[in-house]
């Protein structure tokens, strides 16, 4: 069954009908009998010791369930990697909004009054809020030196290149925090039964992460913890690790009260208290020949991880590996670190470190171009990775990717050369400046290095009594199309109609651990396992003699029904096996970092209105090579949505911080683009196949997050001929830069290094 009947066509979204009719059940749509509502009492200071807690007399406290750290049956930890993050602060708080107490009551309306009636007195401790303050270590808030993790990547001989360089180009680049802003806030319902244990239902990406965290917290064995994913209204990484915290809170209240408890955050709480994209700082120092070839360079990369380690080491890992981008670095040294500050821990957000390091790199490439006197197009052509060359981690590019051709294609689609010529003339007069900017990049799909081996994902496919087939995975749907694509894969593998394949709700009582729904791995890695498991179902039936080697869907259905009638429901399992030729050294951070890279060239056309200094994107070409497009509408939707978030990241979304707390935690003040702000995002695909992915697919969910920021800022610089090295880039920033530039115009140009 190899012709693409289902793969490659835009079949209906599996759960689409429920979504367009309002029947889809999100966690806040669900109530349980005798359910209580929960709320969280949080720290108002960034760092200090809790001295005293007073419960105001106006609240009938005997009606409430009150939980503190002392009520935790197991370990007071939200288990993830380092296990440093408490579920509830006990003696010390390390960030604003850190949870201290939990309250539950039958009437949700009384909860805000109750929270407000609790007074907590602290002995404040000095707090730190920036990467610079953290690395200075004058105040140590974590470990011995505020550093969660370091990586060092070394290739070739970096120290020997400087004397050979015609140019040494330096730059420092910064990115700000970004809020995931899923339209559905975080929420959980928990219920506890002494015999069955704890069950939670919620908005989440990774049921087994929550499962692991609850086991440790509640001191319960695996079969006494059940996690069920409800329809999830957007996640983007913001519901990768955080749900473990809110699930833990709901669980503690449920255990203490003996009743189900629902906790739903409102927007202000969700924005202020939960994870955001890690702010970053990158320093590049690059040795370049006069022909524009990179001899090598040093990259110093840092992310602000907030107060606890959570996922910072993994974000750092991806950022480090992507720091060299789609170019050939004969020599490189990348020093990367994740540092602690007294802000709520930063966490996963689509791209997961790569948008940060790739922003820096792609801005830096334009800087190099200026210094050397080449165009942004030419500098890239001269340094693109070619097949058989190695990346910064010495992974050999084994597929016939031609980035030069990809760039040509993008230039053509965006009418780049004609526009840059036209804009150069038009920009001489008037109050509008236009520019074009390019970003060329790659994104590794799946877990880094030995990660997939460590995950050891397990997938099941089940033959059902009615003759249909059901996919069993812990991979979750949150808009990106998991259910649809995995059913497509199973259907295609078995030669069945798409309608004959279903997928189980992600319930840890029912589905195996196919790994977290992150890292752009679901279609590629989990999909390939679905393919194997599906073929296993067929094999059971053919070996059982009820199905021939070739068969019609009706024959399959019959055989399956018969088999179930005789033997009961049957399943076939597939477990991940790492390809034998994939080798990764965790110590030296060298080797095959990812099973597959998707490649892309994005081109942005921007307008800057000099009256208001605001930049807007007028046209955006997103061209990527993705192995194989399994579902055109879903794939286009992923790219368009990711580019939209990237445009937000660049031009609109700014987290305003004060003493570690987000001040603009409302949709009116944290600005994401509306339908009136985005251009038509033009999406194009090339397909080269991928031996490691289902039907040749590569992961694409996060790829579109990497390109927009540098492409747009490159375009703004092209329009204004003024340097911008940090995002978000708001009109106020453009205004200040133009004002400073016009002051500078009267001074002599600094020598060396170029602009």
């Amino acid at each position: 069954m190899t012709n693409d009947r289902i793969i490659g066509s835009s079949v209906p979204r599996k759960e689409g009908r429920d979504k367009v009719t309002g029947r889809a059940q999100y966690v806040d749509d669900m109530t349980l009998p005798h359910m209580l509502y929960g709320a969280t009492v949080r720290s108002q200071i960034p760092r200090g010791r809790i001295r005293n807690i007073t419960f105001g007399p106006e609240i009938p406290w005997d009606e409430f369930v009150i939980v503190s750290a002392k009520d935790i049956p197991g370990k007071n930890v939200v288990a993830l990697i380092v296990d440093d993050q408490p579920c509830l602060a006990d003696a010390v708080v390390n960030h604003p909004e850190e949870p201290i107490l939990l309250l539950a009551h039958p009437d949700p309306h009384i909860l805000p009054k109750a929270v407000a009636a609790i007074t907590i007195e602290y002995d404040p401790l000095p707090a730190i809020f920036t990467i610079e303050e953290s690395e200075r270590s004058s105040e140590v808030i974590w470990g011995t030196d505020n550093t969660f993790k370091r990586y060092l990547v070394e290739k070739g001989n970096v120290d020997g290149i400087w004397e050979k360089a015609d140019y040494v180009v330096e730059g420092e680049y910064r990115t700000g925090a970004q809020e995931q802003l899923y339209i559905e806030n975080n929420g959980m319902i928990a219920a506890f039964d002494p015999l069955q244990g704890i069950t939670v239902w919620g908005s989440l990406q990774c049921p087994y992460y929550v499962h692991k965290a609850l086991m440790a917290l509640c001191n319960l064995p695996a079969d006494k913890v059940r996690v069920v994913q409800m329809e999830t209204g957007g996640a983007f990484g913001g519901k990768e690790e955080y749900p473990s915290m809110i699930a833990a809170h709901a669980a503690l209240l449920a255990i203490k009260s003996g009743r189900p408890v629902k906790i739903i955050y409102d927007r202000m709480e969700d924005m202020a208290a939960t994870t955001k994209r890690h702010p970053s700082r990158t320093r590049h120092r690059t040795a370049v020949t006069k022909d524009g070839k990179i001899l090598g360079g040093e990259v110093e990369f840092a992310v602000d991880g907030g107060a606890y380690a959570t996922l910072s080491s993994v974000v750092l890992s991806r950022a480090t590996i992507h720091a060299g981008g789609a170019y050939f670095w004969p020599n490189v040294r990348i020093r990367a670190k994740a540092v602690a500050t007294n802000a709520p821990p930063h966490g996963a957000f689509r791209g997961f470190g790569a948008p940060q390091s790739l922003f820096a790199l792609e801005r830096h490439m334009d800087r190099i171009a200026q210094v050397v006197g080449l165009s942004p197009v030419e500098i890239r052509r001269r340094n693109f990775l070619k097949p058989e060359q190695t990346t910064t981690t010495e992974q050999t590019v084994r597929e016939p990717i031609d980035l030069d051709q990809l760039l040509n294609h993008a230039l053509e689609l965006s009418d780049y050369h004609a526009k840059t010529d036209r804009f150069a003339k038009q920009n001489q007069v008037g109050g509008i400046r236009k520019g074009m900017g390019i970003a060329a990049f790659l994104h590794g799909a799946g877990f880094t290095g030995s990660g997939e081996r460590y995950l050891s994902s397990l997938v099941g496919v089940e033959g059902c009594a009615d003759g249909s087939v059901r996919v069993l995975v812990s991979s979750t749907e949150f808009g990106q199309g998991t259910k649809t694509v995995l059913c497509q894969i199973a259907a295609e593998s078995l030669g069945l109609p798409y309608e004959d394949v279903g997928i189980a709700q992600a319930d840890t009582n029912v589905v195996p651990n196919s790994g977290p729904t992150v890292a752009s791995r679901t279609v590629m890695v989990v999909g390939k396992l679905v393919q194997s498991a599906a073929l296993g179902i067929r094999q059971t039936l053919t070996q059982g003699g009820t199905l021939g080697e070739s068969y019609s869907p009706e024959e399959f259905r019959s055989a399956c029904q018969n088999h179930v009638a005789t033997h009961g429901e049957f399943r076939s399992w597939a477990r991940y096996e790492a390809p034998s030729d994939v080798f990764w050294d965790d110590e030296k951070y060298r080797g095959e970092a990812y099973a597959a890279f998707a490649w892309a060239v994005y081109i942005a056309e921007v307008t800057v209105d000099l009256t208001t200094c605001s930049a807007s994107v007028d046209d955006f070409v997103a061209l990527q090579e993705v192995g194989k497009v399994l579902h055109p509408v879903l794939a286009r939707g992923q790219i368009a949505g990711g580019v939209a978030q990237g445009i937000g990241y660049t031009l609109y979304e700014k987290v305003v911080w004060q003493n570690g707390r987000m001040q603009n935690g409302q949709m009116t003040n944290y600005i994401m683009p509306t339908s009136a702000d985005l251009p038509t995002i033009r999406v194009f695909f090339e397909e080269m196949g991928n031996i490691h992915g289902a039907f040749g697919a590569k992961g694409i969910g996060e790829l579109p997050m990497d390109g927009p920021a540098p492409a747009i800022v490159n375009a703004v610089e092209d329009a204004l001929k003024v340097r911008f090295d940090s995002i978000p880039l708001l009109p106020e920033d453009i205004f200040e830069a133009l004002a400073a530039d016009s002051e500078r115009e009267t001074e002599p140009q600094p020598a060396g290094g170029g602009r």
Binding site: H109, P112, E736
Partner: protein
């Protein structure tokens, strides 16, 4: 949702008369709520200090537009959508029609009222500069009857107005004499829709014999109240719009305003952009200047 509905009273008298009687009985005790687009946001955030509310939504006495030969009378209960869809408002009062189209999204335009925008008295309110430029009059009503006062005099300080504790804004009256004026209005927000303004301008101008016969320039978000730039208007009046005058106008405008740093923007940015908008208005007003 940080408020408890059980803590609040809301009544909806059937007539304007009943409402003003209530306000007179207990001045300051009852907060009028029309479309709710301001009040309900405070309520949900747990920041609504009033616990007794009286609904004035959809009262017929407040929600109609009367077109008279010399003026238009817009009921304070008219929504932004009502304004956007009214032929005369669209044709003769484009500053107001544009402002109505910039406020919130469609759903909020269907509920937000002109009276609410005025009484809430935010310096960032979208429709207020237009009312200043048109020199509207307000008709205020209470049990003591109606009184009419120039909108120019209405704001006395940040979120302070001349509205008495027992009064409502009943109608907004705008003279019908601007059809042959050049109109210019722009709102600068953080995005193209659903944005609180960083700066906004509503301006009218007329030339006669190549000189400025009249210029009215109103700005929002650059002072504790929406502002008419009286000084800037004075220095351009009677003059030719040549580059030196435009430069002086920009400078004068920047000196007249008092913008601040806040969560949305900075003083320096607001100042510069306000100057740019004034200059752009005057450039477009000039004979031979670009009209769009």
């Amino acid at each position: 949702m940080r408020s408890d509905p059980a803590d609040y009273q809301l009544i909806a008298p059937a007539s304007l008369q009943a409402v003003v009687s209530l306000l007179a009985e207990e001045p300051g005790a009852w907060l009028p709520i029309a479309g709710g687009t301001d009040v309900m946001v405070l309520y949900a955030a747990g920041k609504l200090s009033a616990s007794k509310l009286v609904s004035i939504w959809n009262l017929p006495e407040l929600r109609h537009i009367e077109v008279l030969p010399d003026e238009i009378r817009i009921g304070a209960g008219c929504t932004y959508t009502d304004l956007r869809e009214h032929e005369i408002v669209k044709r003769e009062f484009p500053l107001l029609a544009s402002a109505a189209g910039w406020t919130g999204g469609i759903a909020n335009q269907n509920r937000g009222t002109l009276g609410g925008n005025i009484v809430n008295a935010s310096p960032a309110a979208d429709s207020l500069p237009a009312l200043l430029a048109y020199e509207a009059d307000l008709i205020l009503v209470s049990v003591r009857g109606e009184r009419r006062l120039p909108y120019l005099d209405f704001h006395t300080g940040y979120k302070q107005t001349k509205l008495a504790a027992d009064e409502l804004v009943q109608a907004i009256c705008i003279p019908r004499r601007f059809s042959d004026y050049f109109s210019y209005t722009r709102k600068i927000g953080a995005r193209n829709a659903q944005a609180i303004s960083k700066v906004c301008i509503a301006a009218l101008g007329r030339l006669a014999g190549g000189v400025v016969e009249e210029a009215r320039i109103a700005l929002g978000s650059v002072a504790p109240v929406p502002l008419r730039l009286a000084e800037t208007e004075r220095i351009v009046k009677g003059k030719r719009l040549e580059p030196p005058l435009l430069a002086l106008a920009r400078k004068t405008a920047t000196a007249e305003i008092r913008p601040i740093d806040d969560i949305r923007s900075t003083m320096r940015y607001r100042s510069a952009v306000a100057g740019n908008l004034v200059a752009e208005f005057l450039e477009r007003l000039s004979p031979g200047g670009p009209k769009t």
